[in-house]
Symmetry: C2
Subunit: 215 residues, 2 copies
């Protein structure tokens, strides 16, 4: 592959959704160009809309085609680079893996993204955090029950799946809100196991080209 054809990932170091995609790219050993989008700059976000109409990261550009939404990108990567599969083979287990990923990406994360927090804090100082914490706690409570039922070494059995990609960014957010995580031992155990995998280390916010931007 020539360098002109290298895929591009529009990302922001602390974005949960970008982080999930970075992890999939690292697990699958896919080389890509990292383009940072400063999510605190209105100009950068408006420019991003010419790439992804929703004005959000991540956006993944491959052969001139833009793919948006973290889980759509991850499913695409899984279908086109099947050597390191991120979904189990059994249809019910695939469903459980996806359900855990969706629980985080549609049930928890949207309720504490930057824009939501900004809007709620404008209504009343501190309200954003209060709102976010309630949904993170509810989500973690459900996640703990699901992981107790389905996990092995990882979220679904003994290999890393799409479900695992959602866990480190969630715990990172929970820690930013200073939540007590002692009630979620299975979530914590899996998060600690993932933290030692080189691809998860490579994808961590602390290890990106734009680490620390607006910190």
């Amino acid at each position: 592959m020539s360098s002109e054809q290298k895929p591009i990932l529009y990302s922001y170091w602390r974005s949960s959704c970008s982080w999930r995609v970075r992890t999939a790219l690292a697990l699958k050993n896919i080389d890509y160009e990292y383009k940072t989008v400063d999510l605190l700059s209105e100009e950068a976000k408006n420019q991003l809309k010419t790439i992804n109409p929703a004005g959000k990261v991540p956006a993944y550009v491959v052969n001139g085609q833009v793919i948006s939404e973290s889980l759509a990108i991850i499913e695409y990567l899984d279908e086109t680079h099947p050597d390191v599969p991120l979904l189990p083979k059994d249809p019910v287990k695939r469903a459980h893996a996806r359900a855990i990923a969706f629980l985080v990406t549609s049930g928890i994360q949207p309720l504490h993204n930057l824009k939501v927090l900004q809007l709620l804090n404008k209504k009343e100082a501190g309200f954003g955090g209060q709102f976010a914490k309630q949904f993170i706690v509810e989500g973690l409570t459900a996640l703990e029950v699901l992981l107790k039922e389905h996990s092995g070494k990882y979220a679904i059995g003994e290999t890393v799946t799409i479900a695992d990609l959602a866990i480190p960014p969630l715990i990172y957010s929970a820690n930013r809100f200073n939540l007590d995580l002692s009630a979620y031992p299975t979530v914590n155990r899996i998060n600690e196991t993932l933290a030692e995998i080189p691809a998860f280390i490579a994808a961590h916010p602390d290890n990106q080209p734009d680490t620390g931007l607006n910190a």
Copy 2:
């Protein structure tokens, strides 16, 4: 398949997420038992947690296995009943179809679900609607651009996909908030086309066993 083995769908007539799954089931001609969950009853929601730990509809029970999260259920149905496919064959088009579905299910719908509205309206009467409308408008704006680029008769080309399943519930919500939808002609056109398909009619909130509950 004996009647004992019929799958069960835990649903609520007006739930967007249940609606998407009902549409997939109808398109694929899958027979199932409909169990209503009264989302306004704390007792019913607590009981539901013994089925789906997140306490949400839909939950789909097949051979004693519970699958949660609407898009995980739909992907499962698509993998196990491939006769009426809900994803294109081309990987990039599959990604676009999923991205549109995710844009709605993680970027728009979570920000106007019942619980979010209740919490925000408790903070200040009317704030829930104001908050919801902002994210529906932003989401519809992005959706219109994506559909202009990718749609044919339906959201992605000339056959119904997972992307289409997300559109009618979104427009139904937008109408409940009395939003002016004239700026989204492509979304409207596709929504009107879908409204004439028998499976979409069968899945509509107006045509469920629990239609009108708490209306």
